[in-house]
Symmetry: C2
Subunit: 334 residues, 2 copies
DNA sequence: GTGAAAGCGCTAACAG
DNA sequence: CTGTTAGCGCTTTCAC
């Protein structure tokens, strides 16, 4: 239509080569009129790069995957990379199937995500850049990006200490989750730094549910323990605790200050009073993972475990009003 | 390696052509040893089909998108189709950008999803199969798959009627959502069928939040209304209502039976008492949308609005114990 | 039965 | 400056 050869069109559209401006205009105009979209497949075939990455969830897409995916999409979409979605549902066979699919589609790299930040078996796919996000690869030569749950636990505890609380309890989830241990360790570290420690019967482990939160709160009140602050391993637990306390006539935060974990908006904001809680900044984590992957695709080698800091979101359950510890518009330090 | 030509390899791997069994074996063995994965791009280039579809969320991936995506992935993954993820964040410019990307990548079709089942502008992309899932295209020649919210409202109401309740109220979300109107219409229809109607001051519209549920419950109790059943437009609202009722000494379900909407497990199951609620079966909806898309890719023409039935999930808030209205293992009628 | 050749849509290198 | 050629990895005729 522009009466030029295919090669010339290519140069015109990609801004390359030596072309007369008039010719370039003519081609561009024709392309516009025809609604011409260059065929990415052909280009990929030639270049050996697809500008596509695979997103492989080992567990189903859940609440944690959403912000993570947004962050990943953000970081990759800006770089014009497309994302292939693969939900293995925790099934190794499905995962293997998806892995083959991604390889045959020649993705430039893969991001593997989990439901909890626990350790998992590596993909063992030598020639391809892989980043593990919100899950840790058991292989030390892999790169994993996870939230720093020790720091998160510390953050929550320091906040309670800053609020003048000295008799803290911890109500958390099942000990088989690494996060449970790490958050508790963070708590202990913060207490130790203040010359305090947490009594053995002030740490209650159970499930991640509200029901467990209510049960644990009851147990804490029934014993003869003096408690003025509770750090909960999740917002769901914290909500259960808050409900049980209120129904027993214990005031939050006046009598007992409360800090949750996850910043699950729909839970944390609806709790009475709204929960101060630790935010793992999963969107930032997704972005960081994607950025690392891009670097690896670019030839950079990287391995080990990158821990990203959590931040505290302050609402009223902790009785301290102050700004968030970093500005909402800012990004967490990488 | 198998000492045959590329053409022969192709026939061997794809099971086509006339080959000696021994040759085929030799090729297969060599492919296995080499870990050979045929390059899907090259194949797509040739066939003119990519076995890939785009998933375009107009709103961010949220709670409703998860089951939807699972259903879509299920239906497509089984057919060996891959899914490109595009999150337009409700931004028309981003959406346009993604649309171009998908076209240049030559997807076989597109599924457009929304956050609420409301009407949206069509993609106006003539030559490509498109299905709208959990959102309705304004163009009648497009195909949209949405939950039947009128039927959902009817289901909830009939259940309350079956529980012997006759004085029903409705606490729901903002009237700008089509679902709010449709669910209310379903309620009215069910009541009319029983020779009843709902008083104007028994329908309270507000936001989708727990706080609104609490506020509305208080309002209902403070007025001099006799109410023995409340149908709530969402589980969050229902939870707020349940909390407020309990705190006012009203027993659920003995004094007032409660039915929610969404079957948002984490809310519905944690409510005291656990909520009977309407499930829109979004996973099934995703599957149906994907199946329709496959049919369209296969050459079938289809248009209009497909409404999929909701089902009732019975817990204790409605005071009726019975089986779900269809077996958990079954699939909803398409 | 198997190999050789052409071509999917594009771009890079080289001619002209 | 622009056109021609070759080739990315695969499948599909068509000879042999």
């Amino acid at each position: 239509m522009a009466a030029v050869s295919a090669g010339t069109v290519s140069k015109a559209l990609n801004g390359g080569g030596q072309l007369r401006a008039e010719t370039r205009q003519r081609v561009l105009e024709a392309a516009r009129q025809l609604g011409f979209q260059p065929n990415t497949l052909a280009r990929s075939l030639l270049r050996g790069r697809t500008y596509t990455v695979g997103l492989l969830t080992s567990d189903s897409f859940g609440r944690f995957s959403i912000p993570l995916m947004q962050g990943i999409e953000d970081a990759l979409g800006a770089g014009q990379l497309a994302v292939f979605l693969c939900d293995a549902r925790g099934d190794a066979v499905r995962e293997q199937h998806y892995l083959r699919t991604l390889l045959s589609r020649r993705v430039d790299g893969i991001i593997v995500t989990g439901r909890r930040a626990d350790t998992r078996a590596p993909l063992s796919q030598d020639p391809l850049p892989v980043v593990y996000a919100y899950t840790k690869s058991a292989a030390p030569e892999d790169l994993s990006v996870v939230p720093d749950d020790v720091q998160g636990g510390r953050l929550a505890t320091e906040h309670l200490l800053a609020a003048g609380r000295r008799h803290l309890a911890h109500v958390t989830g099942p000990t088989r989750f690494e996060a449970v241990l790490e958050r508790a360790n963070g708590m202990r570290a913060a207490l130790a730094a203040a010359g305090l420690e947490v009594a053995r019967d002030h740490v209650l482990t159970g499930s991640w549910s509200e029901a467990w939160g209510r049960e644990a709160a009851t147990e804490l009140l029934d014993g003869d323990r003096h408690i003025d602050g509770i750090f909960c391993g999740s917002d769901q637990i914290a909500r259960g605790v808050a409900d049980a306390l209120r129904e027993r006539g214990v005031r939050v935060p006046e009598d007992i200050a409360l800090v949750g974990y996850d910043n699950w908006e729909v839970i944390a904001a609806a709790t009475r009073p709204p929960l101060t809680t630790v935010d793992m900044n999963l969107e930032g984590l997704g972005q960081a993972a994607a950025d690392h992957l891009l670097a690896m695709i670019g030839g950079m080698r990287a391995s080990g475990i990158v821990r990203l800091p959590c931040r505290l979101v302050i609402r009223s359950s902790s009785g301290v009003s102050s700004l968030r510890d970093w500005p909402a518009s800012g990004t967490p330090p990488a």
